[in-house]
């Protein structure tokens, strides 16, 4: 027994002391709490990293990935200062925020181009119309549209293997709304994964495969995949996703804005205000670095003005709007 207690007595304080020593002396710094979409995460992470460096650790910034919906839940309870969102705030979430007395300022921070990808050896589907995409992905295609030939008689009579993000993803919401006309309305018999790398692997291994995900994943895997040129309207030219085609508004309807929502009360705290200004001032550089499409400079200045003038509410009225160009986005008026 002596032995036992001696070991226990020695081990406990040692463990405590060890753990306490490694904790660094940066107590009681100011804190900016951010949570939300994993799509927006790389941008906000880059901002947080550089911002912390610029304040020499005086301000802490933490970023979580609860998803757009999960992020808004915390945001509307007032638990976070900023919410990352890969789609505009929805009606239900607006009500939650209102009920809790949380007011917010909406700021688009970048564009993401949803990229439709096929195998490198696929020579027939290098351009697709939105109507063809709809034929592949609409709910009624489930169990019926199984081969490429069924989409276009000129294409091979080969089974079509579809890959896409899971139903919890904002990417899925936007794609289904843009292609099928209704968010979350999609065929269910495709290989779904929340991990985009799984989709990359799937499409790169099968010549008959087609999938969609964010532009950054395509850019990193260009050697394994090819992007499909999208024909937005009948008779128009096919447009490949690129920084330019998103900025000039020709890559439609699959280019979508992504946002941060800032709690208006938090914005009164200097560290949050500084962070938001830092975000907008470095928008172009850092967004580009993490492979998203930056907004034009005036959009970022516009955001800083919205923060100064406290332009509360959303410009989207609680729903997703499809095919907005950057110009149109900036002209929308915010409403609570």
């Amino acid at each position: 027994m002596l032995k036992l207690s001696r070991i226990a007595l020695a081990a406990l304080p040692a463990a405590f002391a060890g753990a306490l020593c490694i904790a660094a002396p940066v107590a009681h710094a100011q804190l900016v709490k951010i949570d939300g979409s994993s799509t927006v995460f790389p941008i906000t992470e880059a901002m947080a990293e550089d911002f912390q460096k610029s304040t020499k650790g005086k301000v802490k910034v933490t970023v979580g990935i609860s998803g757009t919906g999960g992020g808004f839940k915390k945001f509307c309870r007032g638990e976070t200062d900023i919410s990352d969102a890969s789609r505009p705030i929805l009606k239900k979430e607006m009500d939650d925020c209102k009920a809790a007395g949380v007011q917010y300022i909406e700021m688009p921070v970048a564009y993401d181009a949803l990229t439709v990808v096929i195998h490198r050896d696929n020579k027939w589907a290098q351009t697709l119309t939105v109507a063809q995409l709809k034929k592949m992905w609409e709910p009624s295609a489930q169990g019926n549209v199984k081969t490429w030939k069924q989409v276009n008689p000129a294409w091979p009579d080969q089974p079509m293997k579809l890959f896409g993000p899971g139903a919890d993803s904002g990417t899925f919401d936007y794609f289904t709304e843009a292609v099928n006309g209704k968010a979350k309305s999609s065929r269910g018999d495709f290989t779904a994964s929340e991990d985009d790398n799984v989709l990359v692997q799937g499409v790169s291994r099968d010549v008959n495969a087609l999938g969609y995900f964010g532009y950054a994943y395509y850019l990193e895997n260009q050697d394994k995949l090819q992007a499909v040129g999208i024909i937005g309207k009948e008779g128009a030219k096919a447009v490949l996703p690129s920084f330019d085609s998103v900025v000039n508004g020709s890559y439609q309807p699959l280019a979508r804005p992504i946002f941060i929502y800032v709690n208006a009360k938090s914005l009164e705290r200097p560290e949050v205000k500084d962070f938001v200004e830092f975000y907008m001032k470095n928008g172009d550089k850092l967004v580009r670095e993490v492979k998203y499409v930056p907004l034009p400079a005036k959009a970022y200045t516009h955001n800083i003005e919205s923060a100064d003038k406290k332009v509360l509410g959303t410009k989207f009225g609680g729903e997703n709007k499809i095919g907005l160009t950057i110009e149109q986005l900036m002209q929308l008026e915010a409403k609570l």
Binding site: A27, L31, D196, N197, E220
Partner: protein, 307 residues
């Protein structure tokens, strides 16, 4: 049997020995499934991630640049969460088990408790996460903190600790207890002086199995709100300005190793996948060294047991 010749007996023995061989082969194959899988996974991680292991990898915070990114906040977070888990789960689990084994009356209440404890070990970890979100994070107001995470994982491994402790206590011969009682010892004296010291090796095994499970858990920790990007460490007691209290670190935001890995594997850049492999290596080594420590302590303690 008497009319069997020596040759026949030999044949019989050979036949039976063949079964020995067959079973040994099956056993080795079964073992290999597990061992080879682990070796292959480990080798894969070493090949992908070993070149990322450097001092910087351990002392750097996560970063958007894969080559600068490190696991400082993750391993400190994991260590502190494990500390809270161990400090709560071990005393509570051992005390519960001692009560059930030595004190509890044998009736239907005890039976129900026993069945529940055993069943709890099989509850999916996400359920513990949801429970903890409601209880620790909101009801008790601990927030999304190291304390909440540590308590959640403590709940998760509590059944494992209880079951292992009970097994260890049960393996102590009854004569030890009877001897103690015969000399006039009370229940508590018997427990504290004999039962507990003798069952420590078994208890440690259970505790380490539990902690090894806890350190790899992701789902409940995500549920209660661990963060993905955090480039600060919890405040050390009595440092900073104004000085942090001795327990401020318990309420600090945090991340843990599996979440850091998960985030890196879901990145598009291959360089981050190598970071994830390197972090995986560190996590495996952390787990293995916990096991090694347990085996060493168990060995030392066993040497002292004489009966």
């Amino acid at each position: 049997m008497a009319d069997m010749t020596v040759a026949e007996i030999r044949a019989l023995i050979t036949k039976h020995k063949r079964w020995d061989l067959i079973f040994a082969t099956v056993g080795v194959l079964a073992l290999m499934v597990g061992v080879l899988t682990f070796v292959a996974l480990f080798a894969g991680m070493v090949m992908d991630g070993a070149h990322r292991l450097s001092w910087d990898f351990f002392v750097n915070f996560p970063s958007r640049r894969a080559e600068n990114a490190g696991i400082l906040s993750a391993w400190v977070g994991s260590t502190l969460v494990m500390l809270v888990t161990a400090v709560t789960a071990i005393p509570v689990g051992v005390a519960g088990a001692v009560y059930l084994e030595e004190y509890a009356p044998k009736n239907w209440m005890t039976d129900i408790i026993e069945i529940n404890v055993t069943n709890l070990a099989g509850v999916p970890s996400i359920i513990y996460g949801l429970l903890a979100l409601g209880l620790f994070v909101y009801k008790f107001g601990f927030g999304q903190s190291i304390l909440s995470a540590g308590l959640t994982l403590a709940l998760l491994i509590l059944p494992v600790v209880i079951v292992a402790t009970r097994e260890a206590i049960r393996s102590i011969p009854g004569v030890i207890r009877e001897g103690a009682y015969a000399l006039g010892a009370t229940k508590w004296q018997t427990t504290a002086d004999h039962i507990l010291p003798y069952s420590i090796p078994g208890i440690l095994t259970g505790v380490i199995i539990g902690l090894a499970r806890a350190i790899g858990e992701t789902a409940p920790i995500i549920t209660i709100g661990a963060l993905t990007f955090i480039a600060v460490l919890p405040p050390a007691p009595f440092t900073g300005d104004p000085a942090a209290g001795p327990f401020d670190w318990l309420f600090a935001p945090f991340t843990v190793m599996p979440i850091q890995m998960f985030n890196w594997t879901s990145r598009p850049e291959a360089a981050f996948h190598q970071n994830a492999a390197a972090a995986g290596l560190v996590l495996v080594v952390m787990t293995l060294s916990m096991n090694a420590l347990a085996i060493y302590i168990r060995y030392r303690l066993r040497k002292n047991i004489k009966w």
